[in-house]
């Protein structure tokens, strides 16, 4: 669905993207993780043809991004944090504009607003919506014309956990319909929960890429197992034969309350690779 090969981009003297490479197959959720200023939004703009680049090649929807036509762009949905909504218009009126542009029957508007959980706010002016509701309205606008490829730039940034979860549910539901989703975030839990593949972007360079669990396993240098015993005691055991015997003994005695592996999370991996925290600015 997207092929990005050796892409370079700079603004004035500052290199923003330096040799970025990845392939995204159809139907996958691809997460681009990085702190603010890492180049995530710039990359979305390049992949969607909003911004030119100095070197490399980008193929989106099977075409060089520079050659995407208006018809091709109808298969792309973009939600960026900076995108606005028509404040004086209601949710329905906001979507009517885009339904008319895409030639979609107005009957689909209600259905789309229900899908994002805005059925009770359909007639509410956008200026009265909360941040979470506004994000849902933007999501509805993205999903309205049923694009094959969707770009979501930090879709849950600044939202409360409950709204975040409901947006995750919507994204996963959409994934099941076979669409490809390109997601940027600096929330590693979000990336781990949603993405098939994640790329860790730091200062314009992808420092690691793969399935979230694989990356975490790869950087599991400690190889320890953490046990919480029914006595209240916490135990850390190193991988090995001796530990297996010990765990087996404790299990048989019914002394284990919880058992966890100790591989790092994406945040820790990012910190190890770059010396920076993903959410250092938050």
């Amino acid at each position: 669905m997207i092929q990005c090969k050796n892409v370079y981009k700079s603004f004035a003297d500052k290199t923003v993207l330096s040799g970025v490479n990845f392939d995204i197959p159809s139907g996958e959720i691809f997460g681009l993780l990085g702190p603010s200023g890492a180049g995530k939004t710039t990359l979305i703009k390049i992949l969607t043809g909003q911004l030119s680049f100095e070197a490399g090649s980008v193929i989106t929807l099977g075409k060089k991004v520079e050659r995407l036509t208006g018809e091709d762009k109808k298969n792309i949905g973009i939600m960026m944090d900076e995108f606005g909504v028509y404040e004086r218009f209601s949710c329905v009126e906001n979507l009517q504009i885009f339904a008319d542009i895409y030639g979609i029957p107005h009957s689909k508007i209600k259905q789309t607003l229900e899908m994002v959980g805005l059925q009770d706010a359909m007639r509410m002016p956008a200026m009265n919506l909360s941040k979470g509701m506004r994000t849902r309205l933007q999501l509805a606008r993205v999903f309205l014309h049923s694009p094959k490829l969707i770009f979501l730039d930090e879709p849950t940034s600044g939202l409360d956990p409950q709204t975040m979860k409901s947006i995750h549910r919507i994204i996963l539901e959409k994934k099941r319909t076979g669409i490809t989703i390109f997601l940027t975030t600096h929330n590693m839990e979000e990336a781990a929960a949603l993405c098939d593949t994640v790329a860790l972007l730091n200062e314009g360079v992808i420092v690691e890429m793969g399935a979230p669990q694989e990356i975490c396993r790869k950087y599991n240098h400690q190889k320890k197992i953490k046990l919480h015993l029914s006595s209240g005691e916490d135990l850390e055991l190193k991988h090995g034969k001796e530990s297996a015997t010990e765990i087996s003994r404790l299990f048989e005695a019914g002394n284990i309350e919880t058992i966890h592996s100790s591989e790092p999370n994406l945040e820790t991996v990012f910190l190890e690779l770059t010396g920076r925290k993903l959410q250092e600015d938050v």
Binding site: T48, G70, K73, F83, G84, F98, D100, I101
Partner: protein, 228 residues
């Protein structure tokens, strides 16, 4: 064509909700109706207030509305969403321009009720032409301005010169000498003559030069800044 009609439809819906633009559209037609009916002095020329306010309307409403609409969409990033939804910049500008022109013509239609029947067509023709030039200038400001604040600061002096220039020219000969180079002043001359008879050559030349300059400015602005 579909995108242009979507933009027009969107703007029509917004007319009632956007008080800033709505006031611009209805202020002068309402004032004209009131003044024409309320004030009738001996020796006052026919349709004095209609002609006076028409030129002010021409230099104010389309200019302010066009610049305000474009700069608001830029500031609130809804213009980028439209562009990403495959609305071409020219379709957007055409949609907004047609909308502003149509609403202003409706306003001019209301103002024309104070005129003799045989003058109405000429009046609407002159007003229609004046609105087009003001729309081009308003579009130019909207393209140049990053946000509504910049737009207002650019619109204000242009609006004052174009709208009040012809009115002040009535009272001061020096201002008249300068104001004669404005299309609004020449439109005022034509509205006072109410015919294409002799002696309008200079007016037509000045109007054409004004239009050419603003169209050129518009294309320079568009090439330099685009719509984003």
């Amino acid at each position: 064509m579909r995108n242009i009609s979507v933009i027009i439809k969107k703007q029509i819906k917004d007319t009632i909700k956007n008080r800033v633009v709505l006031i611009q559209f209805i202020l002068f037609p309402v004032m004209t109706l009131i003044m024409e009916n309320a004030i009738k002095l001996d020796g006052m020329p026919d349709a004095f207030f209609t002609k006076l306010f028409s030129v002010m309307y021409m230099g104010m409403a389309p200019l302010t509305a066009m610049a305000a609409i474009i700069s608001e969409e830029k500031e609130k990033n809804t213009l980028r969403v439209l562009m990403m939804a495959n609305v071409a910049p020219w379709e957007y500008l055409a949609g907004v321009g047609i909308y502003v022109w149509t609403i202003c013509m409706a306003g001019a239609g209301v103002m024309a009720t104070g005129l003799e029947k045989e003058n109405i067509l000429f009046y609407l023709l002159i007003m229609g032409l004046g609105f087009v030039i003001s729309i081009v200038l308003g579009g130019c400001i909207g393209i140049f301005a990053k946000n509504q604040m910049v737009s207002t600061s650019l619109v204000m002096p242009a609006m004052v010169i174009l709208s009040f220039g012809p009115m002040l020219a009535l009272f001061n000969s020096t201002i008249e000498k300068v104001a004669k180079f404005l299309y609004t002043q020449q439109m005022s001359v034509l509205l006072n003559k109410m015919s294409f008879d002799k002696g309008i050559g200079e007016s037509i030349i000045i109007i054409v030069i004004n239009a050419a300059v603003f169209i050129m400015l518009f294309f320079i602005a568009f090439r330099k800044k685009g719509l984003e």
